[in-house]
């Protein structure tokens, strides 16, 4: 489960860049989403690493 959530965080970060590139969101929203994806990744990936 944690692995899936961690991978979804990465996917969300990547999608935010694509959404900005396609003009669907502005630069500030892209940066905020990428930062959010970053924190989410660290939470889920660290939790997973600790459990292993």
């Amino acid at each position: 489960m944690l692995l899936i959530l961690a991978l979804l965080s990465l996917a969300a970060g990547l999608y935010s860049a694509l959404a900005f590139f396609w003009g669907n969101i502005d630069v500030q929203s892209y940066r905020n989403l990428l930062l959010g994806a970053t924190f989410a990744w660290f939470v889920f990936a660290t939790l997973r690493a600790q459990r292993r």
Binding site: G13, A17, W22, R31, L34, L35, A49
Partner: protein, 460 residues
């Protein structure tokens, strides 16, 4: 003096005692373990700088893409056909192989040289982090220019020293925990590279359907025009750089420490899981990002423009997670010459040396040259071990001269090492190309110096 040397040697052997015996067969690791290990190994802070430098050096897009492809393939083949086979056959680290061949005195010199090179590399990583932290926290500290050798401001010195001390304290407090943290970081760092490059596309004029992507890359990123003061790079410089970026690890045989656990020498091919994402895609991405900031070498500003605060965090954390093991390794290498020093004191000392070096922007703004020199300095040792392992048996020359004759220092190895470096220093070739003729010269010289030891029958 001789008792001092004997004491140092004894201490050095004690440190490496765990690795003295060849790896037992029940300790061998599966291919999946190697693939995972290498996958996270080549996405580091240096990638933010190296890919950007290729743009500043005015390489053409086609030369970059094909040069990186060739160079990375050659690097993978070097691991596969040079490093892994020796490691799998001997199951030893380079340290123990070299000790038997060159003697403990020379391994001591090798360790010190390695430690100093590690300190400089870690210092460059601290400088890269400083560019990000200077931006991220709004300090407004100017990043050194491409021609700077000495620090350009008091603020820069204060920032790099402060970051260096912080990294050092963290390395002292918990190296193992930080290593695990670094593994967690790798996939995210890769995301920042890719996201940052994609987010730079609109500024460069890439269409939403990517139909003009290559045209934009060709004209606005790798457009063949170097920035003023930078030498123009072509296909061969790129190919050679990609090949020697990890020269100390493959040709220099440092990665014998890893491959001695491999079940088969073909595991060398698994380095491709890290090399292509890190030394191809990440370099391409950082090249695109630097084009988005008017081709100015400022990793912090570049990452902030492309990825916001997440980008700044990526540069700072990548610098930290790269500098951390490097400071630790430097400490480990120096431990042999500082008997009885506790690990914390040693890490603290190497960290302080590294912090001092980080103040000098020359190591960061001349990173490509430094990477070339780093590999070049350690390459002759790899050549000596290669000759000893593959050529000596064919010529019936007994192996492990230092061990069999009880030498503290095998002067032939020292002569080959110093002679090769002297030869490389005067070669009328670009710095990036010198290691290759130097490698062959080292092999030939070492074999020639040992021909008088040929025995009547084929040996070992």
């Amino acid at each position: 003096m001789s008792s001092k040397i004997a004491s140092l040697v004894a201490k050095m052997d004690e440190l490496n005692e765990f690795d003295r015996e060849p790896v037992h067969l029940d300790k061998l690791q599966p291919a999946s373990r190697f693939a995972g290990l290498f996958a996270g190994e080549h996405v580091a802070a240096t990638e933010f700088v190296i890919g950007a430098f290729f743009v500043l050096h005015g390489v053409h897009a086609r030369d970059l893409l094909l040069g990186l492809l060739l160079g990375n393939v050659l690097a993978i083949l070097s691991w596969t056909f040079i490093c892994a086979p020796i490691a799998v056959r001997t199951r030893l680290t380079l340290y123990w192989y070299l000790r038997r061949t060159a003697g403990p005195g020379l391994t001591l010199i090798y360790n010190v040289a390695n430690a100093l090179l590690y300190c400089i590399l870690a210092g460059a990583m601290i400088s890269v982090s400083a560019t990000a932290i200077g931006i991220g926290f709004g300090f407004g500290i100017p990043t050194p220019s491409l021609n700077d050798i000495l620090p350009n401001s008091v603020e820069w010195v204060a920032l790099t020293i402060a970051i260096g001390i912080l990294f050092t304290i963290l390395a002292v407090l918990g190296f193992a925990a930080l290593s695990r943290f670094a593994q967690v970081c790798s996939p995210w760092l890769f995301l920042i590279f890719v996201a940052g490059a994609i987010a730079t596309f609109p500024a460069l004029g890439v269409h939403a359907n990517f139909d003009n992507l290559y045209e934009v890359m060709r004209t606005k990123v790798w457009n063949g025009t170097p920035v003023p003061g930078q030498e123009q790079f072509g296909f061969w410089q790129i190919a050679f750089f990609a090949w020697f970026a990890n020269l100390a690890m493959h040709i220099g045989l440092s990665d014998m420490a890893l491959f001695r656990y491999a079940r088969h020498w073909s595991y060398g091919l698994l380095t491709s899981t890290g090399i292509f994402p890190g030394h191809y895609l990440a370099w391409v991405c950082s090249g695109i990002m630097v084009a988005g900031v008017d081709r100015s070498m400022d990793p912090g500003r570049m990452a902030y423009t492309a990825a916001g605060l997440a980008g700044v965090l990526a540069v700072a954390i990548a610098g930290w997670t790269t500098a951390n093991p490097t400071i630790y390794r430097a400490g480990l290498a120096l431990q042999s010459v500082t008997p009885n020093w506790p690990r914390w004191k040693l890490t603290l000392s190497t960290g302080l040396i590294t912090s001092f070096l980080a103040c000098f922007p020359v190591f960061f703004v001349r990173l490509l040259d430094y990477v070339a020199i780093y590999g070049l300095v350690l390459m002759p040792i790899g050549a000596v071990v290669f000759a000893e392992h593959w050529i000596f048996p064919k010529l019936a020359i007994p192996k492990y001269e230092a061990e069999t004759r009880g030498l503290v220092l095998n002067w032939k190895v020292l002569v080959v090492w110093a002679g090769t470096l002297a030869l490389c220093a005067v070669m009328p070739l670009h710095l990036f190309y010198r290691w290759l003729p130097g490698y062959f010269a080292a092999i030939i010289a070492y074999v020639a110096l040992n021909l008088n030891r040929r025995s009547a029958s084929p040996c070992c």
